[in-house]
């Protein structure tokens, strides 16, 4: 909302400069985006002048040499405008004046004739576009030499307000003036709609127009007046200047008046050329499905049955509350005007304007719900101006359909609730003063106040708490509000165990050398394809957005891998030779998707959030498990004179994964398993406590190619499953010092295809309780072994909690291990 400062001061002059007022407004709830200046930087040097004579220039066909009285006797000004003529009252920029944009006027010779100033066009002063040529002022007995600023708002400061959507009253200048009055206590001028126009036309409005409202719930009030003998012409300079400063393009007097009345009252108006409305009959009805009409902006629009139309006998002439049509537009030849001022259902206007993607000054006001009372305010202001400025006659009577004006709202403000909610006292007398300045009716009743809400605030102030806000903000929070902390006993803050462990997991990844990234939650529909995920995989079925910003961000991700690859690709393109990345974040799976298992396998309800089970009575529309994903491209340790910086491979990243699990005290099982995006021979599923928690592997070369990578290795694991298995914080002490352990090495020859994990499992399974660990520490494949065989060396740790083991015991355990090894084709290496 642009408020020219001179216009505001006409209704309430706070007596301070606009910058200071802007700050006061900001501190009481009306943000001022900026204070801009329209017109020249200063009014200095701009005066009223009278053209005494205008003669052709001796050396130039298009120039005139004018004698101008600008207050200090006669001066010569060379002017290029074709419309300059003797007798005109004009705006003159004297030498020394500065035009908008910074050009300074000086004495100059134009084709040999000295010119002492410039006769200005409206556009040159940013007073609106105006007619072509110089601006001609009305001669109201203006004396030459009068400062132009006394006649026209030049060098006008304009407050650009960011009005909050509840304050529809401040979408009108008089509403802003009332707000300024409330916060500054400066006097407020009389309501500008107080005086109506004399109705001097012939007959009665009912003789020349009629209105039928078929949808009263969507059109609470429709008023219409008729004007005859209208002369369409450009508006006077002051009106054009005011509209221009408020950001509206002047069009013609009638249209400008409707805009002016709207800017003053917040109530939009619409003028029809009555002679283009057959029989003057208007109908307000709902559109039929698919009905079309062309709006004033020349666009043909397709409507739906909730769209409300203002129609004449031939069809729609405007979309109610949003934009008029071309059929009955006021134009140069218009002689009779029908002035519509109506109220519309705000949410339906909002809905329709969104549906049509069409917003206008009118719709942005109507959508916030205007009170029907406002209609007549606008009618009165506009009527007076149309009569005054267009030479028109107002036909007696007003058509007023469905005028069921809501009763004024009455509220009680309990005295104790003001300090009770705000935490600061406000004297009752102050409360009364603030509310009255804001236009409320107030009567004290003991400690309480009986308050009547004015129509402008009817839909905004509906409860006691709304009154408390009004009183509090006018009183001033900054100056008066104490700084205290809630005095509520017995509260204990803290992070949940899962939140603490999630931080530990993230820190573990950092300590293992990985940079955390935050990737986009959305991706493009082609990503599953680039990851070679088949169409029937649930991961190819992400949540699709109906209104994405771009195709690239139109589907919610189902893997973290995709965004990791995008980020790696960008970094490598920028010259990085390796990346080690991780992300701790969610994926978004349709509820039907069965990957991975949603339910935690223990009764530990504290872990639910990481599985996507959130507080609240309804679960989320999709499942959002929290994942840790990681991607390494290139070496994890830089190349140096001591080593070659081998690119990270499966085992490098598996070590990282084991390091992460180790930080959480979780034991993983890593078993061969394929994923479409991984190297089939170098990929595995990550098991935790018998549950599948994720995958790890080297990337399939086709996937690498799609992201311009040479190679890469990645994992993605469900953090919920990982943390669910973590004993962190619950570990029990185990005695490892009283009785010594016995360590023995075991070299086993097995067929190549026997997995190390299988061998280890077999050893652990047959070693009994006393075998505490068995770790593979060597692998040998070579000539000394037979074809298709390999040798694995394991270190065994035997220990008993209650005694020192004897050699005999260990020998017996070894024997049983050896016996078990045979079953998987293994034998001790000789």
């Amino acid at each position: 909302m642009k408020v020219p400062y001179s216009w505001l001061r006409e209704h309430c002059d706070p007596g301070i400069d606009p910058g200071e007022l802007a700050e006061r407004l900001a501190m009481t709830g009306t943000e001022v985006e900026r204070v801009s200046a329209i017109g020249p930087p200063s009014a200095e040097g701009f005066v009223v002048g009278r053209v005494l004579s205008a003669e052709p220039h001796p050396n130039a066909d298009r120039l005139r040499v004018c004698a101008v009285d600008a207050g200090e006797g006669e001066r010569t000004i060379v002017c290029g405008a074709p419309n300059v003529a003797a007798g005109q009252t004009v705006a003159v920029a004297l030498p020394g004046a500065t035009l908008p944009g910074g050009h300074k006027i000086g004495k100059a010779k134009l084709r040999g004739v000295e010119s002492a100033g410039m006769i200005c066009a409206a556009a040159e002063l940013e007073l609106g576009e105006g007619p072509p040529g110089i601006l001609v002022l009305e001669d109201d007995g203006l004396l030459p030499g009068t400062p132009l600023a006394e006649v026209l708002p030049i060098a006008e400061p304009v407050l650009e307000l960011e009005v909050t959507p509840n304050r529809v009253d401040c979408f009108g200048v008089y509403g802003v003036a009332r707000e300024v009055h409330a916060i500054s206590a400066a006097p407020l001028g009389p309501e500008p709609w107080g005086e109506d126009a004399p109705a001097e036309g012939e007959g009665d409005v009912g003789d020349c127009a009629s209105v039928t409202v078929e949808v009263p719930d969507l059109c609470p009030r429709f008023t219409a007046r008729v004007f005859t003998d209208v002369t369409i012409a450009p508006s006077p300079a002051w009106l054009q200047a005011r509209l221009a400063a408020a950001g509206q393009r002047p069009i013609n007097n009638v249209v400008d008046i409707t805009n002016y009345a709207m800017l003053l009252t917040a109530q939009p108006l619409h003028a029809f050329d009555l002679d283009k409305v057959p029989d003057g009959a208007l109908t307000v009805r709902a559109a039929s499905d698919g009905e079309r009409m062309t709006t004033l902006d020349g666009v043909e629009r397709t409507l739906d049955p909730k769209t409300v139309l203002v129609c004449d006998r031939n069809g729609p002439s405007g979309i109610a509350g949003i934009m008029g049509g071309q059929v009955s537009e006021v134009s140069e030849g218009t002689a009779r005007v029908l002035l519509e001022v109506a109220s519309w259902n705000g949410s339906n206007i909002l809905r329709t304007s969104r549906m049509l993607s069409l917003r206008s000054e009118a719709s942005s006001r109507f959508e916030k719900q205007l009170h029907p009372e406002l209609c007549m305010r606008a009618q009165r202001i506009a009527s007076r101006l149309i009569v005054e400025l267009c030479g028109a006659k107002l036909v007696p009577g007003t058509i007023d359909v469905g005028a069921e004006i809501p009763e004024p709202r009455k509220l009680v403000l309990r005295g104790e609730r003001v300090p009770g909610l705000l935490g600061m006292p406000i004297e009752q007398a102050d409360q009364v003063a603030y509310l009255e300045r804001l236009g409320f009716g107030v009567e004290a009743s003991g400690d309480d106040l009986d308050v009547t809400v004015p129509p402008d605030r009817h839909y905004d102030v509906t409860r006691e708490v709304d009154l408390i806000e009004e009183v509090g903000r006018v009183h001033g929070l900054g100056e008066h509000l104490p700084s205290t902390l809630p005095a509520v006993a017995g509260r204990v803050g803290g992070l949940s165990r899962e939140q603490r462990l999630r931080r530990r997991a993230e820190d573990a990844m950092r300590d293992l050398g990985f940079d955390e990234v935050v990737g986009w939650s959305f991706t493009d529909p082609g990503e599953p394809g680039r990851l070679r995920i088949p169409a029937d995989d649930p991961r190819a079925d992400g949540v699709v957005l109906s209104n994405p910003l771009s195709e690239d961000q139109s589907v919610m991700r189902t893997t973290v891998l995709g965004s990791l690859l995008d980020i790696a690709q960008r970094n490598l393109a920028r010259g990085a030779d390796h990346v080690a990345l991780f992300e701790s974040g969610r994926v978004y799976l349709p509820v039907a998707a069965s990957l991975p298992k949603p339910a935690p396998n223990t009764g530990n309800s504290g872990l639910d959030v990481l599985f996507g089970e959130f507080p609240g009575e309804r679960s989320g529309p999709c499942r959002e498990p929290h994942r840790i994903g990681s991607l390494a491209v290139g070496p994890l340790v830089a190349k140096s004179w001591r080593g070659s910086g081998e690119p990270a491979d499966f085992f490098a990243l598996k070590g990282t994964l084991e390091g992460l699990a180790g930080q959480l005290g979780v034991e993983l099982s890593v078993e061969p398993a394929e994923e479409p995006f991984l190297h089939p021979g170098r990929s595995a599923g990550i098991g935790v406590g018998g549950e599948l928690a994720g995958w790890i592997g080297e990337l399939n070369p086709l996937v690498c190619r799609a992201w311009d990578l040479e190679a890469g290795v990645a994992f993605e694991v469900d953090l919920g499953i990982l943390l669910d298995a973590s004993p962190a914080g619950e570990e029990a002490f185990e005695d490892v010092t009283t009785f010594p352990a016995v360590y023995q090495d075991l070299a086993v020859v097995v067929p190549t295809e026997v997995a190390a994990a299988r061998l280890r499992e077999s050893v652990l399974g047959s070693g009994g309780e006393l075998l505490r660990s068995a770790e593979v520490f060597d692998l040998y494949e070579g000539e000394q072994l037979g074809e298709g065989e390999k040798s694995l060396a394991l270190r065994l740790e035997f220990r008993a909690a209650d005694r020192t083991l004897t050699d005999d015991e260990v020998v017996a355990l070894r024997a049983s291990i050896e016996a078990e090894l045979v079953k998987i084709g293994g034998s001790l290496r000789g």
Partner: protein, 352 residues
């Protein structure tokens, strides 16, 4: 016999003292104390000696042996030390070569770090962290937050909707977690909700995805002044001691009264001017920097969870919310919101 023992002892002692290295010393040990050594033979033959000689010869030989053993040990100590010394002297490296590269330590993203800092501050003030879904029902994102369908405030945030269901959207703020938390827990409640939110907007100061932290405090007698104090504490923890919060009245559908809150500028100490007299570029000369929105929870919002114990006539409280990126941008001079999602490792590695 005793003379012979003495001869051996003297000879051996001289030889041990003169032994040049540990290898020669070992030879002497074998020669004088080994299995085939004369002294060993004497000791072994004692039993065959006449009874009156056994005592003297035995004790003489034993003495000699112990003495030689002691000499050998002490000489060995000397030789070891000097041999180690010369070995170490020969074992020199070029200490000016670069060190072997350690496996580098990674970095936590600035958004995570900033979120944690806010979480830790609020935990200290007695709040718990709650989380909710990012793909959310319209009910939690709008309706229960006092944005009924058709409410103009829904225009404030441009919302991403799911194609499959017009009632499903990407949450536009973390406020739905307020409702979810109140549904799951009776008052008093002191909670924060960090997380990702989404709006249809993209430029240097808007990202379609960004992060917020929400706070909610509901109980008996919690006032707007308590919000002032809480914001003061929080902003000091984030922006440094001596900072102050300023509340400006504003409008949000889910709070009444509503405010926007600012922090006093930490670059110019709120003066709007820099040391050289120039205008502070951070707060643009205003002395205050906008941080977020807040207010007293609207009774209509409590009405949606009244059955969970939130009777608006009995309990009241405040809520606040702010953008994590904005705070990180202010604290660290990040010029463009999109840098956070660029994830350029050269930037990530600036924040350790």
């Amino acid at each position: 016999m005793l003379e012979r023992i003495e001869e051996i002892r003297v000879e051996a002692a001289v030889a041990i003292e003169a032994a040049p290295g540990t290898a020669e010393l070992e030879e002497l040990r074998v020669r004088y104390l080994g299995r085939k050594a004369e002294l060993t033979a004497i000791l072994r033959g004692i039993a065959e000696l006449p009874a009156e000689e056994r005592g003297r010869v035995g004790s003489g030989a034993n003495q000699a042996r112990k003495q030689l053993e002691a000499l050998l040990e002490s000489r060995a100590g000397v030789l070891d030390a000097s041999e180690l010394e010369s070995k170490l002297a020969a074992d020199r490296v070029d200490v000016t070569l670069p060190g072997a590269p350690a496996r580098p330590v990674g970095h936590i993203h600035l958004i995570t770090r900033t979120t944690r800092q806010i979480e830790d501050t609020m935990v200290g003030l007695g709040y718990r962290a709650m989380e909710g879904p990012e793909v959310e029902h319209d009910y939690y994102n709008f309706t229960a937050l006092n944005h009924p369908p058709g409410h103009p405030a829904r225009m404030l945030q441009d919302t991403f909707y799911a194609q499959s269901d017009p009632e499903v959207l990407l949450r536009t703020h973390t406020s739905p977690v307020q409702i979810r938390s109140m549904e799951s827990q009776p008052p008093p409640i002191f909670m924060i909700a960090p997380g990702k939110v989404y709006r249809r907007d993209s430029d240097a100061t808007h990202s379609p995805m960004f992060h917020q932290v929400e706070g909610l405090a509901i109980g008996e007698g919690i006032t707007l002044a308590d919000l002032q104090g809480t914001l003061d504490e929080m902003l000091r923890a984030i922006f440094g001691a001596g900072r102050e919060a300023r509340m400006r009245p504003h409008f949000f559908p889910f709070t009444e009264p509503s405010v926007e809150f600012d922090v006093s500028c930490f670059q110019c100490e709120g003066s709007g001017q820099l040391g050289d007299g120039g205008r502070c570029n951070l707060c643009k000369g205003i002395g205050w920097i906008e941080v977020g929105g807040a207010g007293m929870v609207d009774p209509n919002v409590l009405g949606f969870v009244e059955r969970n114990g939130y009777d608006p006539e009995r309990v009241q409280g405040f809520a606040f919310g702010m953008g994590v990126e904005r705070i990180a941008m202010l604290r660290h001079g990040v010029p463009d919101l999109r840098r956070f999602f660029d994830n350029d490792v050269r930037v990530l590695e600036q924040f350790s």
